[in-house]
């Protein structure tokens, strides 16, 4: 999967969690949590969705890697290389 495709995937999952999420002003290097009103349960939803869609197992220690849009893409790029 390309970096752009991974980015779209994350945004699509977030939109499913919160249809009011506003991506227009989203800064990719700033924590998603602060910008989009996401809480720890929402991050768990992202993890579950990634497992369902792409059979990805993300261990709990790695959850902090999902903090910003950029860090998500960096973390997922090697894992989704063949997807």
């Amino acid at each position: 999967m390309t970096r752009d495709a991974i980015r779209d995937l994350i945004l699509e999952i977030i939109e499913d969690i919160d249809e009011d999420a506003d991506f227009d002003t989203l800064e990719a290097d700033k924590p998603l949590r602060d910008q989009l009103d996401l809480d720890s349960m929402d991050f768990l939803d992202i993890v579950m969705e990634l497992r369902k869609r792409h059979k990805l197992q993300i261990p709990e220690e790695d959850y902090p890697e999902l903090a910003t849009l950029d860090s998500c893409v960096n973390y997922l790029e090697p894992l989704l290389a063949d997807a």
């Binding site: 809480d39 349960m41 768990l44 939803d45 579950m48 497992r51 197992q57």
Partner: protein
């Protein structure tokens, strides 16, 4: 609708033991993920402590006194919009004790205002306190206690400590000596927007959840007490219930964590190191309640939704649990609580210790219950003059009642102290496929905590099942 036990298959992907909010949520999530799920409940009704009962035309809610706004998002994401839409705010929260009397909406804005004008605390201190508790996470350092936290921001102000602590002690049994993070997380949840309830009552919620479970294909059996979780070679094999063995790849126990380990799986299923930690898990206090039904033609005007009352000079966690405590809450249910059901009811709740009640003979037990009822009526008189003449039903529940009903160790109302969380989260690393869901660690209790924990645990189950495929 629940099906008869004879209709159960011999094998499921997941068996969920117990239908408290944690068990219901796990069952629902896992069935939604496509697993074949069987839910076994000991009682005749689903919901666990989220329960209700009917007497003389009244419907009494046992644990519907209030939950944080977070329930709105949680119900929308993990149950459905219809359930979410029944959540409404309780706006009149009242405190009445020898130190202060006030009415609040129990949110950050109103608390800040009260702390400034009534308690004369500088705004900078209040803001700093709120920022501190809002930033707390469950994985933070736990060495600081709530008492230390309060003394840092409000030294010598036992009145402020009472305002901040009393409601949370009722909400989850925590004390000033528990880790400050458990206080901070729960208090911040409430302060977000105030206290909320479920319009239509607990019966309506559980009915709506049952419909959702059926939509997802969960097989539900009530009056089914699981006697044993079968563990072989470090892995879960299934459960034994009413003499029948049902095989399962995973078992999610919503029975208390102490019960799950000691009575269902058995100590032998676990390593010595795990048991050493598990033996240190302390359960929380239990409760007493008095259920009061008002005559159909009596009614009364608004006296508040939730009243925190006490005649004790200062707040103390020990006093709150005393057999003859002078502190109690009154939850007042108006006809608007259950639209279409034109009744007023009142439920008085107290924290209590099982050990104070367990040793009583039948006769003493009856007398203590009666005296609990009389003390409650006397206290209610202050808020509802002539209460005695207005009622047509009154009865009491004690720690023994809660123990009998849920089988929880010492009738615990709010699961375990903080150390229980670690044991609960890691039990599947000890016994493959065995999971625990339900009130643990103070933060994972209450309606919101139990539902969210149900989601967290179903995520663990799903990860486990997939990695074993």
């Amino acid at each position: 609708m629940p099906v008869s036990f004879s209709q159960t298959a011999d094998q499921y992907d997941v068996v969920v033991i117990g239908s408290g909010l944690g068990g219901l949520t796990s069952a629902n999530r896992l069935a939604y993920c496509g697993y074949k799920v069987l839910l076994l409940e000991y009682h005749s009704q689903l919901g666990g402590l989220a329960t209700w009962f009917k007497r003389k035309g009244h419907i009494f809610d046992v644990s519907l006194h209030g939950f944080p706004y977070g329930m709105v998002k949680t119900c929308k994401k993990y149950w459905n919009r219809e359930i979410m839409n029944s959540i409404v705010q309780l706006k009149n929260i009242i405190f009445d004790n020898p130190q202060f009397q006030l009415k609040t909406t129990f949110d950050r804005v109103d608390f800040t205002e009260k702390l400034i004008s009534y308690f004369k605390i500088p705004k900078t201190t209040i803001d700093a306190f709120f920022a501190r508790v809002a930033g707390m996470n469950f994985y933070d350092d736990q060495s600081m206690t709530t008492r230390e936290l309060f003394n840092e921001y409000f030294p010598g102000r036992s009145d402020v400590h009472r305002l901040l602590m009393e409601p949370i002690s009722y909400a989850n049994g925590s004390t000033l000596d528990d880790p400050a993070i458990t206080y901070g997380i729960v208090f911040s949840n409430f302060m977000n927007k105030g206290v909320f309830t479920f319009e239509g009552g607990t019966d309506k919620l559980i009915k709506m959840m049952t419909v959702e479970l059926e939509k997802c294909g969960v097989t539900i059996c009530t009056n089914c007490k699981v006697d044993r979780i079968i563990v072989e070679q470090g892995k879960v094999k299934g459960v034994e219930c009413r003499g029948k063995v049902i095989a399962a790849k995973s078992v999610v126990s919503n029975s208390g964590i102490t019960n799950t380990i000691h009575n269902l799986a058995g100590r032998d299923a676990f390593s010595d190191t795990f048991m050493e930690k598990a033996d240190k898990v302390r359960v929380n206090n239990s409760s007493c309640q008095v259920y009061i039904g008002i005559k159909e033609d009596e009614g009364f005007d608004d006296i508040g939704d939730l009243l925190f009352t006490s005649k004790a000079a200062e707040f103390s966690s020990t006093e709150l649990c005393d057999l003859h405590t002078k502190s109690k809450t009154f939850s007042v249910y108006y006809p608007k609580t259950r639209p279409g059901h034109n009744r007023h009811t009142i439920v008085a709740s107290m924290n209590a210790n099982y050990k104070d009640w367990e040793a009583f003979s039948d006769e003493q037990y009856g007398q203590e219950k009666e005296s609990l009822i009389q003390r409650t009526l006397l206290d209610l008189e202050r808020y509802l003059p002539g209460a005695k003449e207005k009622i047509d039903w009154i009865e009491a529940a004690t720690p023994r009642t809660f123990n009998r009903y849920t089988l929880h160790t010492r009738g615990t109302s709010f699961g375990t102290k903080f150390e229980g969380l670690d044991i609960s989260r890691n039990i599947f690393k000890e016994v493959g496929g065995l999971f625990h869901v339900g009130s643990v660690g103070i933060i994972m209790s209450g309606w919101l905590g139990a539902i969210n924990y149900g989601v967290i645990v179903s995520n663990d189950v799903d990860a486990y099942m997939r990695s074993n495929d």
